[in-house]
Assembly symmetry: C2
Homo-oligomer: 216 residues x 2
């Protein structure tokens, strides 16, 4: 994340968009990729959606791939920046898990279009950014795994559930990008809280895993 | 599902593919749509993948949209035909839920490409088929809701969990289309069974929903 001092030099030419032009381009591109798919969206479509010319876009991004890469990287970075500190504040694994899920969902709602673009997009990232994205994703999944392992060590979570429950948590959150609509019904945070309670307490009134049957 | 007697008349021209040509086209189209997306796949690409000419495809399907519609409808029909009878055989809600999840996953594994094409595809169905697909999907979701309601009535499942747990079950199963690879690691059925046990018994060793905390 570049500071003012370390920011790369502006290219030649008059900036044809407003001050937050990069932001505007990334937001509109996210909407376009999320709705129509990466392959079906052109720089021309993007320029038309913003109401500028194609060169105005090229002033900030050399290629469509660059825009896609920027969306994915900043979405993963932003997600980590939102979720890691929130989790760290909680000492107990059960609270860490709750906060992981709700902070993730709240970030999804605040960054809805870029999240959907990331999760429904067909495009791969360019090789130079793929490793950065993979590192962020791996660290994120590691955080979740550590929470689940801590819960097992604390004797609060059942043992042997790390792989399945980690996968379940991410599946529930990721699939939200496919059906959740901001501003309609519950907030994403409330939905994540409902999932958290279901996942931790279970559906059975009297769970009984001792006999290979989940409910008595 | 047309019987031999009611089957529509063959169009003029020599069938240029083998006996199960329709099947072959639908399978290869599913692979193509799943990998490249509907919009990025042409009839030309499909013909090349099968190793036939474009007219050989058009002999069976008038448009790419027709192929897509056929994939979605038959996938939803096949899913229902696999899951409904399996669920009906089980009297108890907990067993119905287990069978719903495992039969769904087994069907996903057997019909991997058409399932992925259905769940990752951007394309909508043509209006004439959209209602049929919606009916199938609604009936499927109703089956799941009935199982969850039955479990609450039986006093086995916690009350007030139908909406969240129904959504959770479908999210876990649907997201599998994004990461599960047939033939690598556990079977889809085993993964669904793990999810079922987690969802029903919960992650907490000592669940305690009475005080608004999922774990004691």
């Amino acid at each position: 994340m570049a500071t003012a001092a370390s920011a790369p030099k502006r290219r030649q030419g008059r900036p044809p968009l407003v001050a937050d032009a990069r932001e505007r381009i990334l937001l509109e591109a996210s909407k376009l990729f999320a709705r129509s798919g990466y392959e079906n969206s052109s720089i021309g479509d993007l320029a038309a959606a913003i109401g500028v010319t194609k060169p105005a876009i090229y002033h900030y991004f050399a290629t469509k791939q660059d825009i896609y890469d920027a969306i994915i990287l900043r979405t993963l970075e932003g997600l980590s920046e939102a979720v890691f500190p929130a989790v760290r504040e909680q000492p107990a694994a059960i609270d860490k898990l709750r906060v992981f899920m709700t902070a993730h969902a709240a970030y999804l709602e605040r960054n809805y279009w870029s999240f959907v673009a990331m999760l429904v997009g067909f495009s791969g990232m360019s090789p130079s950014y793929r490793d950065d994205a993979a590192r962020l994703r791996d660290a994120y999944e590691r955080l979740l795994r550590q929470i689940l392992e801590q819960g097992a060590k604390e004797g609060v979570f059942r043992a042997g559930q790390v792989a399945t429950s980690g996968r379940a948590v991410l599946s529930l959150l990721n699939w939200m990008a496919r059906w959740f609509k901001p501003g309609h019904g519950s907030t994403a945070e409330q939905i994540a809280l409902d999932y958290f309670e279901l996942l931790s307490a279970g559906l059975c009134i009297k769970p009984d895993t001792s006999r290979g049957q989940p409910c008595r």
